[in-house]
Amino acid sequence: MPPTAPEGGEVQIIASGWRLALREFLSNRLAVVGLVVIVFFVLFCFVGPLVYHTNQSLTNPLITDLAPGAGHPLGTDDNGFDELGRIMAGGQTALEIGFFASFIATVIGTLWGAISGLAGGIVDGVLMRAVDILLSIPYLLIVLVLATKYSATVFDESLIIGLFAWLVPARLVRGEVLTLRERDFVSAARVMGSSRARLVVRHLIPNALSVVIVNVTFQIADAILILAYLGFLGFGLQYPAASWGDMLGNAQQYVSSGYWWLVYPVGGCLVVVVLACNLVGDALRDAFDVRLRRR
């Protein structure tokens, strides 16, 4: 008698979690708009200057504070720099610092949180109390104090912004690791003799990645905002470099002098980019939620 084939349904390929999340993300119209805005600004700031050539290093006292008109679509600022070109240049530094600072914060935070969650016990206690303490120091105050000495270069500003921004991702990743390490696949990996390092790098971090990715978008938004505060308060990049925040350093005088073109275009860019990052972050969080629900 021939053996009967085992009963079973049709074999299906289950859509991977990432693909589900991507589909959910793309169905969110606001998120797609946010993403398009971010891509647009990256192109505008990094490719724009290749097309629209302006002088952004030598002041020209003959053409200061010109209103928008022929030759200068957004006018000129008080050093005679073309404002449109300046917005591109300032956007470059703002985006660079936003990305770099959030990169620093994410790398430190992810490692710190993963180690803390995995080690448990005293190590976890000590690492998390350190996070509690640092998180209790008001972020803007401590960044401003450091900015009195270190704010001249893109690297310095990224560092001082990122150095105190890793605390929230550290907490998030630790929480995620605490739930992940009880899962069967982690036990399986451990039984198979995975080293701790392998467990963290190959199993825990990839699975905690969704939390991290959502946080990165908010980190970028926050970093660009903090950078704007630093610039407004006068702790900007070394002249003639500038970020969007630095360009708003004299905004009060511009407003009372009626130089609207030196305030609203650059401020508008700032708000739109931060808004876009927040929209994308919210949508990513919803998208990954869906992935978890269907799993």
């Binding site: 401590i142 401003l144 407003v255």
Partner: protein, 315 residues
Amino acid sequence: MTGYIIRRLAVAVIVTIGIAVISFLMLHYLSPSPVYTVLGAKTSPAAAAAWNRSHGFDRPEPAQLITYLGQLVRLHFGYSYKLGQSVSALFKENAGRSAYLTGAALLLSLIVAIPLGIAQAVRRNSLGDYTATAINFTLYSMPSFFLGLILIQLFALDLNIFPPTVSDSVTTTWQAFTHPLQLTLPIVTLAAINVASFSRYMRSSALDNLAQDYIRLARAKGLSERAVLFRHLLRNACLPMITLIGLSIPSLLAGNLLIEVLFNYPGLGLLFYNALGTEDYNILLAYTVLGGILTVLGNLTADVAITVADPRVRL
């Protein structure tokens, strides 16, 4: 309950000591001694060394740190060599005005955000809800000083209703209190930024509560919608706000700093900002530590208050 509070207080003390240690070491690294502020930039190295020795700035860092912590326990925040006054006196002078600005803005933002969040939840997915969400989201993504600039442009320069900055004649807390026209724009700006984050939480909290059985019961009893919302929903939906306010101290301090600088309003934020410019490190250190202590107290108060307000929260 008492045991819980004692345990939390113990943790709070440890965290506070940690804040003081980290802030001190960081500031000490940036500026080991105020000698050149006191004696002038052209002081000879020998005179500077002698001054450092007589004022204890030549001792090893741990010893200076312990002295500092000892002073902190007795609420001595150090001395501002630039302004020739003790930091405590400067804080005492400015704290009232900052508290008034921040307190009034916080109150105003709650008065707006709580009804707004509930209204959005009741009429969810309506045009009004979408509009409010869009405005809130934009404000949330906007640097507070930029919103302030827009309001200055509109209401001070174009319409000429309010002054663009707080007048120099406002020097005492009482004057700030009795000159509402001067303080309107700063308070409204700060409040608007708070509304943006508060009403989001309020809306989702009200949504959660609207789906609960007790609301269905209240409606089934035949209560008017008004009674359902104001007698039953309001109090329960406001509970998360307690935690939110407790956790918002750092952002309140940040907002306070930026608004005081923008409107030239003399308070702790402006004092801190001026100290940044003159590198008056004792003020910077004191305000950072004070901000840390307020943050710890805010968390602690919120956690205790929520257990008092919500009997379901067990310790």
